[in-house]
């Protein structure tokens, strides 16, 4: 069910009226089935752009994006997407009906839709909030609903673009634990964008470090620390140090 993702020599050039911006330059990497890959890099290095190409919102100028070995095409949607923006939920639908949306698009019968949605809300710890509208939920809860919504229709891959960047530090720690648990439970192929090194080390099986503008792959760092990871352990700190070194942020 989980699918592999291949980026082959992917380049993206934004063309506006006034200028051209080379945002992503010849990026290649692979995400194995059920692998958790973190995409890390400084602001403006093209993380969101890469994410949008994997999601199919943007077509690469050169190169290919393959999901499950097949080219992305407009009709076959097999990915779940979670954005940074809390406003991604539909305000006119309750939490449960938001989670049902992807199932509705696949013509899943009503009763089954409801059961599945409740099951995924339970997975993110929000079973009691099924009939609440998004504006009645906190930012962290809204992002949890968004995660449930993005995986409820069992897409082969899950894409997350800094989903917790706008949350306070304490809630973010909690959310990271939740993502770790959800991933261990569902074993999706995940691409997770962040510019937070500790977050990447906490979550990733592997971290792809991108160079600043234009985005190029600078390093790929495998992380085989046991899960759940302890941010205070020596190996965790060591991994962070390695990545910071690649980012050129170490003194």
């Amino acid at each position: 069910m989980a699918k592999r993702i291949d980026l082959r020599h992917v380049t993206l050039r934004y063309v506006t009226d006034t200028r051209e911006v080379l945002a992503v330059d010849d990026v290649s990497f692979t995400v194995a089935e059920s692998e958790f890959l973190c995409l890390l890099g400084p602001s403006g290095c093209g993380k969101t752009t890469i994410m949008n190409m994997i999601a199919g919102f943007l077509s690469p100028t050169h190169g290919d994006v393959l999901i499950g070995g097949a080219r992305l095409d407009g009709t076959k949607h097999d990915r779940g997407v979670v954005f940074q923006d809390f406003a991604q939920l539909f305000p006119w639908r309750t939490a449960r009906r938001n989670v049902e949306f992807g199932l509705e698009m696949r013509n899943v019968p009503k009763a089954q839709r409801k059961d599945t949605a409740l099951e995924f809300l339970r997975l993110v710890g929000l079973a009691d909030f099924a009939d609440v509208y998004p504006h009645q939920l906190s930012g962290g809860m809204q992002q949890r609903v968004a995660i449930a919504r993005a995986i409820a229709y069992s897409p082969g891959v899950l894409l997350m673009d800094e989903p917790f960047a706008a949350l306070d530090a304490m809630t973010r720690d909690e959310m990271q634990r939740l993502v770790n648990d959800v991933w261990q439970e569902t074993k999706k192929t995940v691409v997770y964008v962040t510019h937070n090194v500790a977050e990447a080390v906490y979550l990733g099986d592997r971290v792809v470090v991108l160079d600043a503008h234009p985005g190029r792959v600078k390093a790929e760092i495998p992380l085989d620390l046991p899960r759940p990871r302890d941010p205070l352990s020596a190996t965790f700190v060591e991994a962070q140090r390695t990545i910071l070194g690649h980012l050129g942020m170490q003194h």
Partner: protein
Amino acid sequence: MSRLSGILLGCVAFVVLALAWQAAYWAGVFPPRLFPSLATVADTLGRLTINGTMLVSAAATLFRLLFGFLLAGVVGVVVGLLMGRVQWIEDALLPIVSFMYPIPGIAYAPLFVLWFGLGDLPAILLVAVATSFTVIINTWKGVKAVNPIWIRSAHAMGASERSIFAKVILPGALPYVLTGLRLGLASAWRILVAVEMLMSVTQGLGWLIFGSQQFLNTDVMLATIAVIGIVGMLLERQVFLRLEQATIVRWGMMSA
């Protein structure tokens, strides 16, 4: 301020207006025949209500309003949605809509009388024409204001263009659509009363006022004006306020 004292204050304004009116009456600013006391107006209102005149007139006016407004609402929402979503339709229609929008509907009244004669049909059509542009413009703005992230999310979840239209654009644009309908209904109500004076319909609130002029029945005129105000307020409060409460306020898309 508490809700109760707010309501009380609102009532005080009515009392002040009533007292000012009575003062003017007692002072004899106009002859009593042209400027009746409030008691006379209330009396007339009671009489016209009991003998059914007011009810029949209001029903006739509401009938025209309902049809004209429904026509404008359906056409306006559909055209507005299409304009907002389909580029070539927007290119084709926006200039003409922007041109028609500021023209007061009443300006067409004499033309409509020449084209459609007298009676209900031209009145209904005129209300529809006068109202639809407000609905179109607001619906179109509403589609433009739909948060693009909702559309992206829906796309990611495999929604077809049709599902996006029905399940994202329509509810997403609802705050503006409702505003358009509300403004449309208010302008329909205003124009209809004027239209009934110009189109010699045989019943209706506007007709009641107009017909009273030659007999100097100022008490009837004032009683009818009061009814027009009350019906307009009920439409606003009972229809739109409730509709908003049940939808966009409940969804947090508009604060109460």
